[in-house]
Subunit: 121 residues, 4 copies
């Protein structure tokens, strides 16, 4: 039984440039791999005004979840810039499930948002 | 391969009339166009008590995202009024993926909400 | 073309019992009717420990949206109690699209959450 | 008519370790059972770095909702640890609908997030 899909989208990516207090503003791409085999991800980052950063590699072991901080992703040393609107495509060689969440502590009290990503079927 | 759908809905549109501090209260219609061709959007705004504003044009280039602020949309000079409940229909001539987010800074500490829009299939 | 579905679910209903400042804590069932005919809704409220309140009537005109405050719904004078977990079923005689949002001002700074409801297909 | 699905996923589980004021930081798995028969759930918890806690039992009566606090779930006395990223799989012997919400009161003003879970079809 196929537990999930292999292509997922998150159109609203944004790393808040500022944080207050101890909680760092950040986004997470939360991936669940329920399969018996590891999933090899290829994450592509789309921008408003320049070509995408294509196929950043990431691995999620079998029967595990990974909550991936977008600020940790990089391609040939290039990271996602903060304070810039972007979008995310997650491809996987195994079926997975993807949820996106953002914690914003630009101001002293944090704000949260979350949504299941959009799966191609 | 068709990456997305061509008709999307967001029933809960609302531009908060007030902002505090530096962060402006706003909504974004976040569109991702993964296709090799530009997408021509037609955005329709539905209200509670009057006819819709129909088919506001907007273009998203190939392999790009656009995070569209709803306060910037206008039809023949008419904008979406603030403080009024409304709803959004996004049509596109190419498959796209749409997410909706709102930042509310009516009070000093911001609040966030987000959801993948609803796609017709 | 059928623009939406006729049965929608929102499992996480909750009317916060307290508010601070000017912004009242509330939930909205945001309904969009893109059809050429009015939609007649029947809203059922499920509880944790007692039988549901069944088929509260509500009308959404053609080509209009309604952002329905759950605190305004009532059946034979009975309203949804505040501070109690409940769930919502929205049935419609015409295809509609439904999004659920909550604003919580229990504390001085508001919090928001939102999601497209779950449609039966 | 089948009202819902039998397998649901929530990749972004996280119990905030701290709370302020009277509102306890918590997550809820909100389940709606519209069927005429009770639903027997088996909830599996996936982690980043160890094997899952498998098939925690939970019952939702016919025509009722349950808003399940994740901090109350346990398997052989083992609970979900706070402050650790994890993911949730909800299986049911009857069709149900599932929504996930988190209230975070790490800081004095609360934050909320919510999404309909992802259903296998």
């Amino acid at each position: 039984m196929q537990k999930g899909e292999t292509i997922w989208y998150i159109p609203d990516g944004y790393i808040p440039p500022e944080s207050t207090n101890d909680l760092l503003s950040h986004e997470s791409i939360c991936v669940l791999n329920c399969q018996e085999r590891k999933a090899q991800l290829a994450i592509t980052i789309y921008f408003e005004d320049r070509p995408p950063l294509e196929k950043i590699a990431y691995e999620v072991p079998a029967k595990r979840t990974k909550h991936i901080r977008t600020s940790e992703l990089s391609l040939d040393g290039e990271k996602i810039p903060v304070g810039v609107p972007y979008a995310i495509e997650v491809e996987s060689d195994e079926p997975i499930i993807v949820q996106y969440s953002r914690l914003d502590s630009t101001q002293p009290e944090l704000a949260l948002m979350s949504t299941i990503a959009y799966a191609l079927k």
